[in-house]
């Protein structure tokens, strides 16, 4: 078959096919259809067999994600009644209703296919997509088709639902319920507000006295009737949250609002019952209505900026436990200490344990940011969050899931630098947090003084109105919202373009730095995707397989690269049984395979003289069979793209250092690149790196460490901001504050500048919000604001502050997207 003549797109997913080996007949034309993998082909066959090929017409060249492989046991946990119970929305004898989160859906064709599930599986009664939420609602007959089979069907056609601990916690279902009742509240408040206004019309026009007293009383009591659902139902959240706050001994901002509502209500009831006036029920209903509208806006915006990263979603939610020789999958929150679990290839370790059996190669990139897998011997500890790369292994758990290493790491205060820098004046969110508790008593005081004054000067009814107006206008929402909205939005914008910061405080700290330390290997030089070249006597296919067998045992980056490059040449490269293997740190690996002794390592290790003709920008790894050197793999030390621009941009404002564990062969090169002022340190151990940063900090510097998370985790942790440059963003490193996608490295300067701008915007929003409150209270105290105007102004002020912050953070981000 001709290879690579033209790029053939996979008929299903649109990716380029490696060759024409996977194909199917096209029923409508003579051209055969090609697929990139068996997964895509099987989806096509399912669709074709059910007359759903319209999918491909609707798709219109959209690229669809390739089908991920999953093992048959992957969804076994869905058969467990506890898991099933938590997932389904409703179930009776005839049908079961369930809602899945399916992030994979992304175009019209996806909607169409998912809503036509019943054509594939008759047991599905109805399937409905909510595209905005990426949710699929399915009604199906569970007697014919189990939940597990349903999920497997979805996974088979490329829409594997996301099922994790979080969705098991039933949080989402509650949220939907909550927002529905919120709309009820809003609707009822609006309805009552409108009708009370209508019924107050005679009052507005001064007509009430023109009619006889009966109308007056009639309208008054109708209004009273209408206000009951507003106060009792629509405003109930404010009362509840105020009451909860008081019980816990603090004064949330809902306290003044509740007090305002209650005082207006009591005054109005008194006036209407005693026939002394019409009360302020229109103001009260309007107040609640506008408060709810303000809250609705906040919820909408909060929902949009909610930060979706949650370490829980990285965890598998069931584990396979071995009990009396029987393997059974159970939810991980049921795992106990001393349970024996089986962890298959590519699975995450749910809890800390001890290796019993198997060849464990754990990728801790989730925990430490190290891309290279760690080998673990039987009897040694394996920590939660690692991912097994080799064959299946057996673990004996030493801890329960809830107290596992990873949870501790993530919750560990030591990793959260907010507490460490809390004393510093620059912490904006802290400032707002500090102000808010003092705010409520202060406002209550001002409102009471104003009320008493006006009671003395005018009358009680007027005083009540001013009391309420002050309480409501002074709500420090704008103040409380400025930081989370602006920095949260900045966080989101940065995350979208590959700069993942841990939290908003990180952005604040990044804005205040003055010294930048670079790690060399893996940070300013590329560790992956470097060109590998084999030079020397060509290796036979069998020899290549032997090299592969040996290198796949090792987790050293160079071994991994050789191994990967061999694998790229030929997929499913066979390997041999290993007779002996040893890795000599800093030198190489040796082993015995198929009776041949093999050494792979540096020149001294294989007994070669060092060649002088090599350029210092290359690393060489020799291959030696039975004492005879066949040749070497050469790797070029490529500097990362955009490094020059990054340095030029940073040089102007910051002091720069480079710290490396390597020999100083590259000193001249680097000095030229980083300029004369840059400090270059070579042959530094991880401890040296940490000490160096500590020393800088003691001199009063605020230090950013930019590393790869491999051997500089300590330094990343010590630095004010630790930035890990990651080839693979799924790396999770509790030690660093920021993860930057390697391809975005060139935009580092922009990121720092943007953080500075974001902090400026927050300060601006603070000023704006304070101004609002001062002016607002000033007017309210003088009796120039009625409570209803205050209720309109209050959410308006929050909205302006939020729009100011969010808008400016978008505006500032314009230059970020150029990359």
């Amino acid at each position: 078959m001709p290879k690579g003549a033209a790029k053939i797109p996979c008929h299903h997913c649109g990716l380029t096919c490696k060759d024409k080996s996977i194909s199917a007949n096209n029923p409508t034309s003579e051209k055969a259809l090609y697929f990139c993998c068996e997964g895509c082909k099987s989806v096509y066959e399912i669709l074709e067999g059910n007359g759903l090929c319209n999918y491909y017409q609707l798709k219109e060249g959209e690229e669809h994600s390739s089908i991920s492989n999953f093992s048959d046991e992957s969804f076994d946990f869905l058969d467990l009644p506890e898991v099933r119970q938590k997932l389904i929305d409703f179930s009776d004898n005839h049908q079961t209703k369930i809602t899945f989160a399916i992030p994979n859906m992304h175009c019209t064709a996806c909607i169409w296919l998912l809503e036509n599930l019943h054509k594939i599986e008759p047991a599905v009664l109805q399937s409905k997509v909510n595209f905005m939420k990426k949710e699929l609602y399915v009604q199906f007959r569970e007697s014919d088709f189990s939940l597990k089979e349903l999920v497997r069907l979805l996974a088979k056609i490329g829409y594997e639902p996301v099922i994790n601990l979080k969705s098991l916690n039933e949080k989402q279902a509650e949220e939907i319920q909550l927002s529905k009742s919120f709309y009820y509240k809003l609707g009822i408040a609006g309805f009552c507000f409108g009708n009370i206004m209508l019924l107050s019309f005679p009052e507005y026009l001064g007509l009430s006295k023109a009619f006889d007293g009966d109308f007056h009383r009639f309208f008054g009591y109708l209004n009273l009737g209408l206000i009951v659902p507003v106060v009792a139902y629509s405003a109930s959240d404010y009362f509840r949250s105020a009451w909860n706050g008081i019980r816990q001994g603090n004064l949330p901002i809902d306290v003044p609002i509740s007090l305002g509502i209650l005082s207006l209500l009591l005054q109005s009831v008194f006036e209407i019952v005693t026939q002394t006036g019409a009360g302020y029920l229109d103001s009260l209903a309007g107040l609640v209505f506008f408060l709810l509208i303000g809250r609705w806006f906040q919820q909408k915006t909060y929902g949009r900026i909610s930060f979706e990263r949650d370490y829980q979603s990285y965890f598998p939610i069931a584990a396979i436990r071995r009990e009396n020789g029987i393997e059974k999958s159970i939810p991980i929150n049921q795992l106990q200490e001393n349970d024996i679990i089986i962890v298959r290839s590519q699975s995450l370790i749910p809890a800390d344990g001890m290796l019993l059996k198997g060849e464990a190669k754990i990728d801790y990139s989730f925990v430490t940011g190290e891309a290279e897998a760690v080998k673990v011997e039987a009897g040694e500890a394996i920590f939660a969050g690692g991912r097994q790369l080799g064959q299946a292994i057996e673990l004996k758990l030493t801890k329960k899931v809830s107290q596992s290493y990873l949870t501790q790491l993530w919750n560990n205060e030591a990793f959260d630098k907010t507490s460490a820098t809390a004393k510093e004046e620059q912490s904006l969110s802290l400032l707002a947090d500090k102000i808010v508790p003092y705010f409520t008593p202060t406002i209550l005081l001002i409102a009471s003084i104003a009320g008493i004054y006006w009671w003395a000067v005018a009358d009680f009814a007027y005083a009540i109105q001013i009391f309420a107006a002050v309480l409501i206008i002074a709500c420090p929402c704008a103040l409380a919202l400025a930081t989370p909205f602006t920095l949260g939005n900045a966080l989101r914008i940065l995350g979208r373009i590959g700069f993942y910061a841990r939290n908003t405080a990180t952005i604040e700290r990044l804005a205040g730095i003055d010294h930048i330390v670079f790690d060399k290997t893996g940070t300013i030089t590329q560790s992956q995707n470097t060109a590998i070249q084999y030079v020397g006597e060509p290796l036979t296919a069998k020899e290549e397989q032997i090299v592969y067998t040996l290198t796949r045992q090792s987790s050293h980056p160079i071994s991994r690269q050789i191994c990967d490059s061999l694998q790229q040449q030929q997929e499913n490269l066979p390997f041999f049984e290993l007779e002996y293997f040893e890795e000599k740190t800093g030198q190489g690996i040796e082993g015995k395979v198929e009776g041949q002794t093999l050494k792979i390592g540096n020149a001294a290790f294989v007994g070669e003289a060092v060649y002088d003709l090599f350029s210092p920008n290359e690393t060489h790894t020799f291959v030696n069979f039975n004492g005879e050197t066949k040749g070497y793999f050469s790797f070029s030390n490529a500097y990362r793209e955009g490094l020059k621009e990054v340095i030029e941009g940073l040089q102007k404002e910051y002091q720069i250092s480079v710290i490396s564990g390597d020999k100083d062969t590259e000193r001249a090169n680097l000095q030229q690149l980083f300029g004369k002022d840059a400090e270059l340190l070579f042959e530094q151990s991880p401890q040296n790196k940490l000490d160096y940063i500590q020393a800088l900090q003691q001199k009063g510097k605020r230090v950013v460490m930019i590393g790869d998370g491999l051997n500089d985790a300590g330094a990343l942790q010590q630095a004010d901001v630790g930035i890990a440059v990651s080839e693979n963003v799924n790396n999770f490193s509790p030690a660093c504050d920021v993860i930057v996608e390697a391809k975005r490295f060139g935009q580092l300067v922009d990121f720092v500048t943007y953080s500075k701008e974001a902090v400026k915007v927050v300060k601006g929003a603070f000023v704006l919000s304070f101004l609002y409150n001062f002016v607002g209270i000033g007017f309210a105290v003088q009796g120039l604001l009625s409570p209803i105007v205050a209720a309109i102004l209050m959410p308006l002020s929050s909205i302006t502050v939020v729009v100011f912050g969010v808008g400016l953070s978008y505006y500032n981000a314009k230059f970020l997207n150029r990359g």
């Binding site: 909510n130 595209f131 905005m132 939907i176 009820y184 009822i188 409108g194 019924l199 109308f215 009639f218």
Partner: protein, 64 residues
Amino acid sequence: MSAIYLLIIISIITAFGFLMTFLWAVKSGQFEDSYTPSVRILFEEEIEMEVENENTEESKNATV
């Protein structure tokens, strides 16, 4: 003037009816997804068109 009592009660009952309609709309989920229905409504049409096209092509083939 006593007609006003009646009229106001009728108007409030009418308004109450609209409130109920709103609550029903919220309950039936009409505010939850404002995008997918707009796509969904196009599906049947497209499919029918596909079928029609195929039919016309077939008939063309037949006449040829």
